[in-house]
């Protein structure tokens, strides 16, 4: 019953969208509000599926997304909700630079069947019918099907999506691969999209597929689409001459251009079919969402200048444990992380009221007041602190003291 409803819904979509050749499969793409955002903004990440850049529903079955932050760290984006059109997630953009958002939608298996002209009464020139999931071929009404009907493809769709946001409106680095299995890479500056020819490269596991395998399409809306076939370097140029949001999609150029699977001559077919059989395997398609850099996005310029000196010392507390006079503690490692724009000279200052630390604290085997260390910018140092309790120390109980790590630019 559920299968029947799904088929009816899909058939309805096919009727609406069908053309003389074949209906295009659902696309899944990443939807965001803007590519230029402010530092600290919360980015709403949405995945949707539909046709011609028009959302029709939240992608069903397996959906996931991950974020590559400006530092290159990859974190999964958890689903935060779902509504009629979108799978929702999001993140706080608290770093300066470029974020890449990567989506994956693995749909259920589909059958693409050549059923011939007139097989769908309302669309007499429509040649193909799609079926999701398991199909009981003996129970399907084939009254209007051609006697050479046959399965063209039986495939599991893998749909990769990608979008970029930047907290400083600098999109340097978008022309690198983010290791999606099938990935569209914009080779030109994405802030210029809509101003003319734009070159893309499509890679499969980091390598181009043979010339003619991949068709890449720029989609503005149902009426405005431009396409090109990728060459043996995976490259193709699209004339994106209209300043607007563009969805770029890439998929197999035609039914003979599938690469992840093989032909099977045992698939169901009509009695007069004599062809080689159908393709059985995986269907991989990719999308890249490129939003117009809107005026509101560009009037504000910002830059985060690192302070001359910025550093952090961890841990915030040193515990040398229980010691007797004359004992030497285990070394405690202190990490000095230089996060500023200048190299640092680090020294320490120790104060106490009992002489324990001022007389017994050693840094890297030198008494604390002889310690000096250079910490280069974007680097860290890990000196060891050690407490040598003087043999004649008479105090007892918890001993208080303070060590301050001083930094000075060099």
């Amino acid at each position: 019953m559920k299968m029947g409803k799904m088929f009816a819904a899909f058939a309805a979509i096919c009727v609406v969208l069908g053309t003389a050749g074949m209906v295009s499969a659902h696309q899944t793409w990443m939807d965001i509000d803007a590519m230029c955002i402010d530092l600290g903004d919360t980015v709403d990440v949405r995945l949707t599926e539909g046709h011609s850049f028009i959302p029709e529903g939240a992608p069903p079955f397996e959906v996931s997304a991950e974020l590559v932050d400006p530092a290159g760290a990859i974190t999964p984006l958890n689903k935060t909700g779902e509504d009629e059109f979108y799978w929702h997630s999001g993140f706080d953009a608290d770093q300066v630079g470029l974020y890449a958002i990567l989506g994956l939608h693995v749909d259920e298996r589909w059958w693409k069947v050549y059923t011939g002209p007139g097989s769908i009464p309302d669309r007499p020139d429509y040649l193909y019918t799609y079926f999701p999931g398991e199909v009981n071929w003996s129970e399907i009404d084939k009254t209007n099907w051609a006697d050479d009907w046959h399965v063209v493809r039986h495939y599991k769709p893998y749909k990769y999506s990608k979008a970029f946001v930047s907290t400083n409106c600098n999109f340097y680095g978008t022309d690198r691969a983010f290791e999606q299995p099938l990935e569209i890479i914009p080779l030109d500056d994405i802030t210029t999209v809509g101003t003319g020819d734009f070159e893309f490269q499509v890679l499969w596991n980091g390598m181009p597929l043979p010339n003619g395998t991949i068709k890449i399409t720029g989609i503005k809306d149902r009426e405005t689409k431009v396409s090109a076939i990728c060459d043996d370097e995976g490259k193709a140029t699209l004339p994106l001459n209209i300043s607007c949001d563009w969805l770029i999609s890439a998929n197999a150029a035609d039914d003979s251009a599938y690469w992840d699977g093989e032909y099977d001559d045992t698939l169901p077919h009509g009695e007069n079919y004599t062809g080689p059989g159908g393709f059985v395997g995986n269907d991989h398609r990719a999308t890249l969402t490129l939003l117009e850099i809107r005026e509101g996005d560009t009037v504000t310029m910002r830059a985060e200048i690192r302070p001359g000196i910025r550093f952090s010392v961890t841990p915030a507390y040193l515990d040398f444990g229980e010691l007797d006079p004359g004992d030497v503690s285990d070394p405690e490692t202190v990490v000095i992380q230089n996060m500023g724009s200048k190299d640092l000279k680090a020294t320490v200052e120790v104060t106490d009221t009992n002489g324990l630390y001022t007389e017994g604290l050693y840094m890297d085997s030198s008494l604390w007041n002889e310690f000096e260390m250079v910490v280069m910018k974007d680097n860290h140092a890990s000196p060891n602190a050690e407490l040598r309790v003087p043999g004649d120390f008479t105090g007892s109980g918890e001993m208080e003291g303070t060590i301050i790590f001083w930094a000075e630019a060099i």
Binding site: P307, S312, V313, A316, M339, G340, T402, I403
Partner: protein
């Protein structure tokens, strides 16, 4: 019953570990500029800004002071304050050297944060070297009383002369 007790113990231990883990953080500080160098005349007043930032994910208290605490002609606008995680604050340092301070002068402005508590605590601080060239200010001519009187007298004479010319 025994299992329940063990479960509660494990849960308590886990909570303690979580609480402990949430308390562990570094002691950090950000300061700009890293050094200062300027010229000033005696009797003049120069103000310089220092931005102090907290790079940590916990609130920290900060102190700003001159290393040589006997210097009384350098004033800090906010010698003590707290900063929320990743917050920054601009403080003003006011320099008003007296006539006795003529020459090259070096000082260090110290900005320090420390997590107070029992035992042996760690703090982090920045020393900003300040090099000041203090020059004896020349008295501007317009502040000399005799010159002012002469100028005023000259203007008065010109005014009277112009009036007389108009009447004739």
């Amino acid at each position: 019953m025994k299992l329940k007790t063990v479960g509660i113990l494990i849960l308590s231990l886990f909570c303690c570990l979580l609480i402990f883990a949430s308390c562990v953080y570094g002691i950090g500080i950000g300061v700009n500029p890293a050094k200062m160098e300027f010229e000033i005349g005696t009797g003049e007043n120069v103000q310089k800004n220092i931005t102090v930032s907290n790079p940590e994910s916990a609130e920290l208290g900060y102190q700003v002071y001159i290393e040589n605490r006997s210097i009384d002609w350098i004033k800090i606008s906010d010698p003590e304050f707290s900063l929320e995680p990743h917050q920054k604050k601009q403080i003003t340092v006011q320099f008003t050297p007296t006539a006795d301070e003529v020459g090259e002068f070096d000082a260090k402005i110290c900005v320090v944060t420390l997590k107070p508590g029992g035992g042996f605590n760690i703090g982090s601080g920045v020393k900003i070297p300040v090099h000041i060239t203090i020059e004896k200010s020349a008295i501007p001519f317009y502040t000399n009383h005799i010159i002012i009187v002469l100028i005023m007298s000259g203007l008065l004479i010109i005014l009277l002369y112009v009036r007389r010319l108009r009447r004739s």
